[in-house]
Symmetry: C2
Subunit: 342 residues, 2 copies
Amino acid sequence: MGVTLKDVAELAGVSRSAVSRTFTQGASVSPKTRRKVERAAAKLGYQPNALASSLTTGRTKLIGLISNNFHNPIFLQVFDLFTRGLQERGLRPLLVNLSEERDPDASLRMLRQYSVDGVIVASSTLPPTFPRAFRDAGVPVVHSFGRFSSMPEVHVVGIDNVECGRMAARALIARGHRHIGFLGGPETATSTQDRYRGFAEVVAAQPGLQVGVTYAAAYSFEAGRAEMGREIARGPAEAYFCGDDVLSIGALSAAQSAGLAVPGDLGLVGLNDMEMAGWQNIDLTTIHQPVRQIIDTSIDVVVSLLDDAERLPEARLFPCRLVERGTLRPLPPGAEPERRDR
Amino acid sequence: MGVTLKDVAELAGVSRSAVSRTFTQGASVSPKTRRKVERAAAKLGYQPNALASSLTTGRTKLIGLISNNFHNPIFLQVFDLFTRGLQERGLRPLLVNLSEERDPDASLRMLRQYSVDGVIVASSTLPPTFPRAFRDAGVPVVHSFGRFSSMPEVHVVGIDNVECGRMAARALIARGHRHIGFLGGPETATSTQDRYRGFAEVVAAQPGLQVGVTYAAAYSFEAGRAEMGREIARGPAEAYFCGDDVLSIGALSAAQSAGLAVPGDLGLVGLNDMEMAGWQNIDLTTIHQPVRQIIDTSIDVVVSLLDDAERLPEARLFPCRLVERGTLRPLPPGAEPERRDR
DNA sequence: TGAGTCTTTGCAACCGGTTGCATTCGTCGG
DNA sequence: CCGACGAATGCAACCGGTTGCAAAGACTCA
C-alpha cells in the first residue's frame, strides 16, 4: 500500500541511507543525489513514516493533551490555541478526555504505549496526582492552569488564584459593598480553595463586613443558577465573586428570574473573561485570565523539556486584571481604584 | 529508558515471541508461560510499544480528528463526544486544527506520516475537497456534519439541511408571520446553501409572503449581531430563521439593544440546540440537531471502515426537531402544528 | 602527479515489536 | 510402551526507518 524508503531508493538508484539522509535535517548528501531522490520521491508520492523513524530516534513529536474540562466554553479556546500552537511547532496533539477518570494509571499507560514526547495537562480541577504520575514515569509534563506552589513538583503555568481572590474582594469592597459573598466552584478544586483563601484574607483585614460563602456543585451554568437561587431565597449578599464565568452567568440568570436588577440589587464578578462574557446580552464584569499567554508559555515549556527533560520544575504565573462591564456597579466617584500591591 | 520485550523475555526466561504472544489476542501460549511472562512484565512495568507493533500489523489505532470549527460552543460537545467515543473503543484521536487552512495536502501528508487508521472530518463548513483528498489517498474517512448527497463520494453523517430550512419556514409561517427572513451563515458554506434552499422552497409554495434574505459573515455572535443590526436599520422582518444558535444569540442581542421585544416584535429560530440555547437568560427557540447520534454513528462508520475500507460510501441522515422556547411566539390556538411530511 | 583532507555513500546493525515455519513438547489411544 | 497429533515454543526474517563505520570519491595544495 504505502510507498517506502526502499521504493524510492530503487527508483532513484541509490541506497536506502541516501534517501533517509535527504529527508533528515543536517545530514550529509550531495546536491546531485538529493535531486535524484527528491524527484523519485515526488514521482512516487513518498511520505516518510514518522512512527517508524520514532523507533530509532526515540521522538514521536506526539504530545498528549489531557483535560477533563469539556463543558466550559473557555476550553474550546484552550483547545484551539493548544492545537494551533503545537501544530506550528511541528508537534501533534493526542487528545485525552479524562472527564470521568479518577485514576491516572490508565491514561499514563496509554500515553506511554504511544510514546508521547511530552504531556500537557490542561485543567484547573484535575488533582496533582495526574501530572505527578507522568513525571514519575519520566514523561515531560506541564500542568497548565494548575495550582501555584513555591515548591512545584512539576512545571506549572497559570494564574495566582489567591491573588485573584484578593482582587475580587477588593473590587467588591471598593465599590462600597458591605455584605459580600463568595460563590465558589466545587470545594474540592484547588482553584476554588485558592480563590477563597485570597478572598477571605482581604475580607479579614477589613472590619465590619458581612460575608457569605457557598459552593456550587460544578463549574456550570445550572450549578451557578441553582446555587444563586438558594442564596436569593436565603437572603442574598449585595455582590458576589463567582468561581468562574459560566457560574456567574448561571447566577446572573437566577437573579434575572428572581426579578433582581443587576448590578443594582445584586453585583457579580466572574473569572476567566471568556468570549461570551463580552456578549452584549451578558456583559459580565469579570477577572481576565490571560489564556493565550498561559498556553503559549505551556507550549514553550514542553518544547524546552523535549531537549532537557531534567529541567527543574518551575511555576509561572501571569497577572490577571479586572474587566469592567455591566454586572458590577462602578466605583463611587472619588474612590481610589483598588490597590494593586505587587 | 523504556522496558522492552527483550527485557521481559530475559527475566521470564522465555523467547521474545512468547512475550509478544502473551500480549496479543488469540495467540497460542500455555498458561504456565503466560503466568511467567505476566509476572516479569508486572515487575518491570512493561508496556508494549503501540507504535512499534503498528509497523508490522499496519494498524496504529490512531484516528485523525479534523475540524476547523474551534469557535462555536457546540463543538466543545462535539469534541467531548468524539474523544470519549473513540477512547471507549480503544482508538486515539489525533486532533488537527484546520482553522485557516485552505489546502488539504498539508494535513493529508501529516496524517499519512502518522499512518492514522482513519479520519473523521467534523465540520459543516470544510469543502468536500478535504474528505475527498483522504479518500483518494486510500485513508478511510467519514465526514461528520457534512453535506448530504444521494451519490456520496465519501461516508457522510449528518442532518438534512434542506429539510431543516423547510422546517424553519413552516414554523414561522404556522405562527402567522407574513414577513419573514432568512439570516444565514456565510453564503459559501454548503450548510447555509442547503438551509436556504429548503426555506425558499416552502416560501415559494406559499403566496403572499414577504421574504428577506441576508448572510452573516461568519457563524459567530458578532456577525449575527452586526447583520441583525443592519436588518433592524433597514426595517426588519417579523421573524427570522438564523443560520445557527450562535448567530441567533447575536441577533437576539441586537434586537434587545434596539429595544425590540422578542418574540413580540421580532421572532427568532436558530439551529443546533446547543446547551447554551437552553440557558434561561437566552431561552432560544431552535431546531435540535442530534449531535450525539451523529457522532456515535460517525464512530461506528469509521470503525467498520477499519475492517472493510472498500465499503461503498453511504450518507446517513438524522431527523431534527423544533425545540420551542422563548424566542418565537407560540402557535395560534387552533392552528394545526406544522406538517411533518416524511 | 600524488599525498592528505573532507565529503559522500553504502553496508549492516539496530529500534521494538510480529509472525510463518519448523521443532519440540505433552498427551492420548491403541 | 510406542506412534500420532495438536499445542506450545523458538528461530529468524521482516515492518520502515536511522546511524556508526569504513570505503570511495572529490578536492586542495604542494
